[in-house]
Amino acid sequence: MTVLLAFDLLLAASIVGLAAATLLMRDAFAMIVAFIVFGMLMALGWARLVAPDVALAEVAIGAGLSGALLLRTLAHLRGGSLSAQGGASVSAPANGATQGVNALLAGLATCALGLAYLGAPQNVPGLEAHVADAMPESGVTHPVTAVLLNFRAYDTLMEVVVLLAAVIVVWQVERGLAETPAPALGTVYQGFARVALPVAVIAGGYLLWIGAEAPGGAFQAGAVLGAVAVLGLLSRHVRPAPAHRPLARGAFVVGTAVFALVALGVAGAGRVAFEYPPAQAKTLILLIEAMVTISIAATLAALFHGRAPVAVSREETDR
């Protein structure tokens, strides 16, 4: 027990230390790497707190995809390379006095929050009893999936809407942007990608399937498939072209559309929206999950790629 306690203390200290290091790193590349490692350690902490679903999502999306997005942007700012020479440098904070005051205020607020946290009652019963009671009618056996896709399905629908909004805004913002030197993988990694892609696709499908009874589910599966697409983009196996645009639009919206249609479609005959008939609950949830997985994977890849696919010749005339 004491070994575990020491491990927890060490891990928590490392998480906080990495968060501080992230902010203190002078070089932006080092900052992003520190942030990714921070995310990995945080996921490890969540695994210690018996939250494997969250840990998976954090590794895949929070640390993994956010990190990839940050690195891709840094490469853009530095004209295609990740080294610090040339392009924009990440300047250190300039105004010492203001920063000091702000830091002091933030520190005081954090201390107050810490005291309030310590003053909070320990182990107030949450909603686990309600969840346990309702599990038999949920259509799935994994509690987190039941909460995400049934009890609080409305939240999850809106979360997919947030993703849709993000990709719409990104396409809008980057419309007509000149072709950026997109990072590419070297030959060794190309070979690796050729091996890794099919494995990852299978892993994503497995995660989706297993989500009904064990940690995993649409978001983790979508993230893995999204990572596949990102790898495909990096290794130039996938070259977005204008012809892909309708397909991409369809993939972005299919999760939201099917989810919302099912939510409305089950209403009636004494049932409200989102109230799946118990007999069809499992089928409907799997259908929603599959569609949402497609949308998440396509959206995450598109967020990484940035602008809508544009033909190179069109590009020249646009400018």
């Binding site: 306690l5 927890d8 928590a12 998480i15 906080v16 968060a19 992230t22 902010l23 992003i32 921070f38 945080m42 902490g45 210690r48 707190l49 939250a51 679903d53 969250v54 999502a57 999306i61 929070g62 995809l65 956010s66 942007t73 853009h76 700012l77 924009a88 990440v90 300047s91 250190a92 904070p93 300039a94 203001t98 920063q99 702000n102 830091a103 205020l105 933030a106 520190g107 607020a109 954090t110 929050l113 320990q122 182990n123 949450g126 686990e128 969840v131 987190v144 909460v147 995400l148 609080r152 939240d155 999850t156 979360e159 947030v162 805004v169 913002v173 950026t180 978001f219 995450l300 990484f304």
Partner: protein, 96 residues
């Protein structure tokens, strides 16, 4: 001192560090990373609140909330990064 206390306090510390970063950093990218730290800290507090002493299983509701929060945060990050890239292109075009 339980796991929940340790990681909950660590989460608050991370949130506070992120807050300092948002308020203190001058660079766009760094402020965005600081916001991501805030999100991580808040998520950690939620996950810690779900923990129950061992034989009991943790409360699944905060887990679902955090997964939602992670997806929301990556969406917001992507939008902010698109703005940063576009701004950089426009600014370097006009400055040159």
């Amino acid at each position: 001192m339980t796991e929940a206390t340790i990681y909950g306090l660590a989460g608050l510390a991370v949130f506070g560090l992120g807050l300092m970063g948002v308020l203190g950093a001058a660079d766009r990218l760094r402020r965005l990373v600081a916001l991501n730290l805030c999100a991580g800290g808040a998520a950690m507090v939620l996950v810690a609140s779900s923990w129950r002493p061992p034989p009991a299983a943790p409360d699944p509701v905060p887990h679902a909330l955090v997964i939602t929060g992670i997806v929301v945060m990556v969406s917001a990050t992507a939008v902010a990064l698109a703005l940063i890239r576009r701004l950089y292109s426009l600014e370097t075009d006009t400055d040159a």
